[in-house]
Symmetry: C2
Subunit: 455 residues, 2 copies
């Protein structure tokens, strides 16, 4: 890993060059680099924690002056029990994942001695922009090397001392491997971001990991494809036939498991026929957990009829904007779904979600398979669940072993993105002097075999 | 198909709405719409050819005035023998392709009664901008409906009469099917393109089908992902150990099969050790086919030593710009590849290609498997071939049954794009009231099964 003091264009060009060499390395060569990284970071723990302590000291001062939030300060700290070890273990976890490069996903014998294969390969150069957490740089470097991609990294300024020290340690380790040094470059100045976002000639994918604002800023300032999500406005639709205790369990988990996560539920859509049946019990459970409910008129009325005066006093009125808001805390917008004549209620719920959700993860709670299937087909989101918590939207929970991010894009990768999302494919043909002009209908023309081979 | 006279924003919004309904239709419902389209276009052939004749009449006048090229005029003509029938047959060919929607590409039992599946689904709304050929609108409408995507179409103005009549016929046909009318919308005015390119909220993918200029204009003016390629600068690297007759055959096919195609070769890279061995015979064959050779000094010298004076007189001098040029005619740039000390010649060829090619299709001619493998791994292009013509880069030749276009993108779809490229996937979870918070290490925590199921 080199500390890039060269111009952003030059950094991108060198990364592109390195990426070509990196792409030809075997899986074992890439894994060897990860082993060396692991060993070096283990050896230099003290050095890195000293650098981290300097970041913490500066950040503490900034926090005391009110210039930095306490949550950022907390995330900076690599010395918290278990954190450094988790970071190290993450490298070995990535190393042990199946190699995403080289997988053959299509093989067709076009004709005798003319074989077409579609083979997974690295995308090329990633630009990864992330916030203060210093362990992220290790995770990203590991993911990039494992997937054979070069990466340019820009981290939050509060972690600069940690990043620089970690970078130097990683650079020293990589230098002993076959991975080219410029495969992983750290960019220190914020000024470099906009020029880097303009390097669509050299950079193939931008991955912003951080706040909505960061993601939006990146998306608004580049022509390079961006993998990620700005918002996580997830909804749960409660159908009238849902089992109440099942529904309560799923909603409580979706809202209170980790309210600041992008896969937490933000909007509860309630079938009008569930307003006075299932909703009151669910609302009671949510209020007991400290959740603020922002209700439309119908749901508020229904709840006031069933809840105690003390409970009812906690209910708030929803505004239209609440149904487009990612609260990221213990607040839930509640909206009644009434169908128009001839319309199924589930269709009205689907229409709401397709208009207001961020295409992240949406859930239906129902005991009817037919209603569920309609919802699963009709909702245009990366994740559509039946009777399960929105919080399952996560690469580790999906069994991917790691998560590069969660994408709400409509192409390439959608939902939790594993290592596979950092690859594309190339078509390889191996022939024997074959000419395309020899294949035509009629006399003298060769015929295609187009024989699918097992892979 | 409706003729959009509404605002571009409104057209895009309606398309998005329709796309949701279209996405839930079964394969047989989508195929039924294709059958109805086929029947209606068969029935109204005379009406459509009359409209086409009006386009031809106007275009002929424009061509006489020098305002339109003869090649455009020729492409306009739907009445040429077999053309209308080919267009009709294309609908049935698309209908008979395997349904790309609903295919399950991953199934994991996360836990008992908690099933995760990754299921192919339509992308949503396509914006397809193409040039004058009137049969393209039928092909695109068929591909969109088959893949469950809504489409907004903008064709070249020279075909307006044909497009409008074809649209009306298709609209009448689709109205009898379950496919929503607004799934396919035709936009008539050129003014609508820029506002449509701004509708990234509603439009998910832009597919420009036409000239480099069109593709560049689209790429420069939208944040929506663009599927396609601006240039097709394909190269062939002739290694010193290549069999001469094999090499000649592949190069002749690659250059002369259809010089205006994006998969025609534009640059021949010649190992310095092949200059006086294989190159002269290859050059003779190319010159005999009327190919103009633009040579660097070394290759020109080598050829002059071996060719007749008359042949040598035909050789032109290459400029640096020739190695970045898509000639689209019978011109071939020739460049000698000399390696620096310690560098393998094939690596110098790879470096040239990764810098100058448009990442479309590049070929190595060699009898060495080791050299070929190095080339296939090192060249970062959608297609990398060993001893086969660049002209194989084509969806029909790959056995995809159809081709949406050829992509030089680094994400989503690369190379010839079949129907699959018009789909993405969603993750579906079917549970039974599962909460993510129940899964954790330690006492009382549930354990993940993460059992891969066969698909």
């Amino acid at each position: 890993m080199s500390l890039t003091e060269s111009s952003p264009v030059e950094a991108a060009r060198i990364a592109s060059e390195s990426s070509r060499q990196l792409a030809t390395l075997s899986g074992s060569s890439r894994n060897e680099a990860l082993d060396l990284m692991y060993a070096a970071l283990t050896k230099h723990k003290d050095l890195i924690l000293e650098a981290n302590a300097r970041d913490i000291k500066a950040a503490t001062k900034a926090a005391e002056n009110g210039d930095l939030s306490l949550s950022i300060l907390k995330r900076l700290d690599l010395a918290r029990p278990g954190k450094y070890e988790d970071m190290l273990k993450g490298i070995l976890d990535v190393r042990d994942l199946a190699d995403p490069v080289g997988k053959v996903s299509l093989a067709t014998l076009l004709d005798d001695d003319l074989l077409l294969q579609r083979v997974a390969c690295p995308i090329g150069v990633l630009l990864i922009i992330f916030e203060a957490r210093p362990e992220v740089i290790v995770n990203i470097a590991a993911l990039s090397i494992k997937s054979g991609n070069a990466a340019i990294l820009k981290g939050g300024k509060e972690s600069t001392e940690s990043f620089v020290t970690i970078s130097n340690v990683i650079a020293e380790a990589i230098a002993k491997s076959q991975v080219p040094n410029a495969s992983i470059q750290l960019v220190k100045t914020r000024d470099a971001i906009l020029p880097l976002l303009a390097q669509d000639k050299y950079i193939d994918l931008v991955i912003p990991r951080g706040s909505n604002d960061l993601v939006r800023h990146v998306k608004d300032n580049t022509k390079i494809p961006v993998l990620g999500h700005a918002d996580g406005i997830c909804s749960i639709y409660l159908h009238s036939d849902a089992d109440q205790s099942m529904a309560t369990k799923v909603i409580i988990d979706s809202k209170t498991g980790y309210p600041a996560a992008c896969n937490a539920v933000e909007t509860l859509l309630v079938d009008q026929n569930a307003l006075s049946v299932q909703l009151p019990g669910i609302a009671e459970a949510l209020l007991a957990k400290g959740v603020t409910l922002r209700c439309d008129d119908l749901s508020k009325q229904a709840l006031q009829d069933k809840l105690t005066a003390a409970q009812s006093a906690l209910l708030q009125d929803a505004t239209e904007a609440d149904y487009d808001t990612e609260f990221l805390d213990l607040t839930l917008a509640v909206k009644t779904i009434s169908s128009t004549p001839g319309e199924a209620t589930v269709d009205a719920a689907i229409a709401h979600i397709n208009t207001h959700s961020s295409k992240h993860t949406d859930v239906i709670l129902t005991s009817s398979k037919a209603i569920a299937d309609r919802f699963l087909a009709g909702v245009d989101s990366a994740g559509v669940y039946w009777n399960a918590s929105t919080r399952f939207a996560d690469g580790m929970r999906y069994g991917f072993g790691t998560e590069v991010g969660i994408s709400t894009n409509k192409i390439h990768s959608r939902g939790p993105v594993g290592l596979e999302g950092l690859t594309i494919y190339k078509y390889i043909i191996r022939g024997n002097g074959h000419a395309a002009g020899d294949y035509f209908e009629g006399e003298g023309g060769k015929r295609w075999k187009h024989q699918k081979l097992s892979i």
